[in-house]
């Protein structure tokens, strides 16, 4: 609608002055004249004429009442929906926590049973931090306050089997750093169970472990189990490391003086969550009781 521009002619100006006066006079006449009977008759007629509008307005009112109720219900539903979504999210978190706890419980139960059976002494610790850039070490949540010492052997239990995981290389009162056996800097004396030959294990920097310096005549075979040897003075004797995956005969060169075999570790150190830290070996004492 445009703003009005009043360019009225003289006729229109007069007309616009007269018109309100005419309507005022008519209004006054309606008020003053005794028209009650006529008004009542007209009112009756108008009532009939306006019945459709009355019905329509009643319909509109009912519709608006319904809208009000519907909007109210929608708001209530939206509110309930938000609450339920929050509850679902909370329950999902709880379920996830419960599943995690259940798995942890299973792991710890089997680990506890195994540690009792083997009569090990030491302390259980959780992996608190794993460096994303370096896969060969982890930080555990136990330190000197809990009896963890430098060079303490660290074992882990997976699928009901206990195996060597690494050893402590740094320790603080509350935490300790464990060098895992897949690290290139890790080394330990090891023996092949059935052949009574010894070598030195060290990590290959990935997930594998090599058993080096085996005598050429050792005749190791695939599947032979490899254990720690007490001759290294770092680990107690008899902790399972893994089994021979590749004997090394295949890649042996003519000038080699020893064999290097590949070992499949019994523990997947990349997924270790809890470890058992044994006391560091000292002269005349071992972590494993006889």
């Amino acid at each position: 609608m445009e703003k009005k521009k009043k360019n009225l002619t003289a006729y229109e100006r007069g007309y616009s002055k007269i018109l309100p006066c005419v309507f005022v006079i008519i209004s006054l006449l309606i008020i003053l004249l005794p028209l009650q009977t006529t008004v009542n008759s007209v009112r009756m007629v108008l009532s009939y004429i306006f019945i459709p509008q009355l019905r329509a307005s009643h319909g509109v009112t009912q519709y608006l009442d319904g809208v009000n109720e519907t909007v109210g219900n929608l708001l209530k539903v939206a509110e309930e929906n938000a609450i339920l979504k929050e509850e679902i999210a909370f329950l999902k978190i709880q379920t996830s926590k419960m599943e995690s706890l259940e798995k942890e419980n299973e792991r710890l139960t089997s680990a506890l049973a195994l540690s009792k059976r083997e009569n090990w002494r030491g302390v259980w610790a959780k992996v608190a931090y794993r460096e994303p850039s370096r896969r060969g070490s982890v930080i555990i949540d136990k330190g000197t306050d809990d009896g963890v010492e430098l060079r303490s052997p660290v074992i882990a239990i997976q699928n009901g089997s206990a195996g060597l995981a690494g050893n402590v290389v740094e320790v603080t009162p509350k935490t300790a750093k464990v060098l895992l056996l897949n690290d290139e800097d890790f080394s330990a004396a090891a023996r092949v169970e059935s052949k009574a030959v010894e070598g030195l294990i060290s990590g290959d920097g990935n997930n594998g472990v090599n058993l080096k310096y085996l005598p050429l005549e050792s005749a190791v075979e695939k599947g032979d189990k490899v254990y720690t040897s007490s001759s290294g003075a770092l680990f107690p004797d008899g902790i399972l490391i893994g089994e021979i995956r590749e004997t090394g005969y295949e890649s042996k060169r003519s000038y080699d003086t020893s064999l290097t075999s590949e070992i499949r570790p019994i523990i997947d150190v990349g997924s270790v969550k809890e470890v058992f830290v044994m006391p560091a070996l000292k002269r005349g004492r071992e972590g494993k009781d006889a």
Partner: protein, 170 residues
């Protein structure tokens, strides 16, 4: 003829909305001036003669359904239109602010003038109550922008929008 039909249609819609407002707000003792809103809107659309006619008919319609002073609303609406046309060229009624303020003020004036006409013609002030006077006027003002958009966008025929400059009676 088309303009007359359009005005008649708008008047019918106004009556429906007026009764709807009565049905909704009467339990709260609040009177919304729907017919006044439509009279003001149509005063902006129609020529001065048409605006007076629409306002007078709107007032008369209210008079037929009020039991107190027959002709009172017709008189008051005519006076309100007279005032509106005096201020119409000084304000831009397309803005929401002036629409709300002017309509609320005119509704207050309407209630007062109707009360005074009651004093003159019936011997008693026709008072609707303070709540209706204040809240009713405020709500009337607030309804104005919505109804203004509703009427100008959806109810007005093209013929009004095209020939706004050359107004005839309708």
């Amino acid at each position: 003829m088309l303009k007359f039909l359009n005005v008649f249609l708008i008047f019918m819609v106004a009556t429906i909305l007026n009764w709807t407002a009565i049905e909704l707000f009467a339990p709260l003792d609040i009177n919304i001036g729907i017919m006044l809103i439509f009279s003001i809107i149509m005063a902006g659309v129609l020529s001065e003669g048409g605006g007076y006619c629409f306002a007078f008919m709107s007032g008369l319609f209210l008079d037929f359904f009020s039991a107190t002073l027959f002709g009172g609303y017709a008189l008051v609406f005519t006076l309100i239109m007279f005032i509106f046309y005096r201020i119409d060229d000084k304000i831009d009624f397309r803005d929401m602010g002036p629409q709300i303020v002017i309509t609320a003020a005119l509704n207050l004036l309407c209630v007062v003038l109707y009360g005074i006409s009651g004093v003159i013609f019936t011997g008693g002030f026709l008072w609707q109550g303070l709540k209706s006077f204040i809240i009713g006027s405020l709500l009337t003002g607030l309804f104005m922008p919505f109804l203004y958009v509703f009427v100008t966008k959806y109810l007005l025929f093209k013929v009004f929008k095209e020939n706004n400059e050359n107004k005839t009676l309708f």
